[in-house]
Symmetry: C2
Subunit: 228 residues, 2 copies
DNA sequence: CGGGCGCTTGATTTGAATCAAACTGGGTGG
DNA sequence: CCACCCAGTTTGATTCAAATCAAGCGCCCG
């Protein structure tokens, strides 16, 4: 059971689809009670939270899913933010999970627990289906970004996606949860290229930055260009 | 309802997980009856089969899911082969679907039909969940391939994946369902690079080819190298 | 206060894109 | 039936952008 600081319950409520408020409340409460709450430090491996085919939900912070190749190259395949689910496609032994930032919180559920919850509360089954669809869309869209030709388009597209996924207000600075290295390993670029590209974007006035981690997208139309 | 030529029923049976043979038969038959069978020609758009949030299953041939950018560049995000499901993550308005080869067959189901089937036959719900997990794994793995640095690694990895997904016997030639253009647009490379790379792989004795579409992987260990 | 990590910038190299052109095979129309 | 056409493929020459190699900087954390 996770301690009810309000954020988790509110998150679960938001993720559940039914219009009926009582159904949502009841499902959210059932999730809260069933959840195993864990907290992780920066760069700490958190595969263990998913051990035994468990399903997890990121409550705060961020998690990277990646594969380490024999040449030492790290390929990040997915970045999970608050509300994203882990372990929806089990038996991916070739991937590892790590918390990106300190205080990354994950609520996890045993597989049979999930089954029971789904049977008791069909809304939860619906929700998990929606989260799986989210994962597919997220991966497809990332392929679109990574498939672009120039580094400017890749990094620009990446920033746009991140900006839409993070809770960023209008004209408010987006605080990147990820390092330049993370961006590079997610896009298949060299760190230097990412850094250079962001400098270029800044100099062109397309973005502005207050410190390396704080970005404001000044001209979203230009970065979005070319995406259908 | 699709005409029972045997392949579809056999495919559905294979995709369903329950050990109980009768449950599988009954679920497979329910799917066959509910299905809307369509056949498509090479390069023919088949979005219409998925209209209205329908779900589809590739019975034969292949389907590409892609996005056309304003500069005319085509980015393929997924290649669907026999047994793969379409429309699991709806509202992807930015993607189009096309049959890759002549005689591509798709069985499609209305959304409310799917709902009814799932309720009547829990095995079908399980199956769809598994297919969604397949899609996630397929996309994640493709990101791994596309994230590699050199063209040789990308094309090599691509051929390996294709070889595992197609029904290819040991030491039997794999018949590529896709053109060089498709491979290029899926990997984010130029056609010429794909062609050159395959020539290089052939000259190194890593693959051999009987015509551009028939490939035998001679040294799978080398191509798999670096994948965890 | 020191160390190291994360970020940035510069110089050089390399590999893929691009431009250009020839070849192949299957399909069509005369 | 044959000539033609065209999409797909292959090869070559050149260009260009990103990787690599190298080094300095700022800052957070210990």
């Amino acid at each position: 059971m996770l301690k009810d600081d309000g954020t988790a319950i509110r998150l679960f409520r938001r993720l559940l689809s039914p219009a009926d408020s009582k159904v949502r409340d009841s499902a959210a409460e059932a999730l809260r009670v069933a959840a195993n709450d864990t907290e992780w430090r920066r760069n700490q491996p958190c595969d263990s939270a998913m051990a035994g085919g468990r399903i997890g939900c990121v409550l705060g912070g961020a998690v990277r899913k990646y594969s380490l190749r024999s040449d030492g190259h790290r390929q990040i395949v997915d970045l999970l933010l608050m509300g994203d689910f882990l372990g929806l496609a089990p038996t991916d032994s070739c991937f590892s999970l790590e918390a990106v930032s300190n205080g990354t919180r994950i609520a996890s559920f045993k597989r049979d627990q999930v089954k029971a919850l789904e049977e008791a509360q069909p809304a939860i089954l619906e929700m998990l289906r929606d989260r799986a669809a989210d994962a597919i869309r997220r991966l497809e869209y990332h392929l679109l970004v990574q498939g672009r030709t120039t580094a400017i388009e890749k990094v620009g597209g990446y920033l746009m996606v991140l900006c839409q996924r993070l809770p960023v207000g209008k004209d408010e600075a987006m605080v990147l949860p990820v390092s330049r290295y993370d961006i590079a390993d997610h896009l298949g670029l060299a760190v230097e290229t990412v850094s250079r590209t962001m400098t270029t974007l800044r100099r062109c006035g397309i973005i502005s930055m207050a410190g390396p981690r704080e970005v404001i997208i000044r001209q979203p139309a230009i970065l979005a260009e070319g995406f259908a």
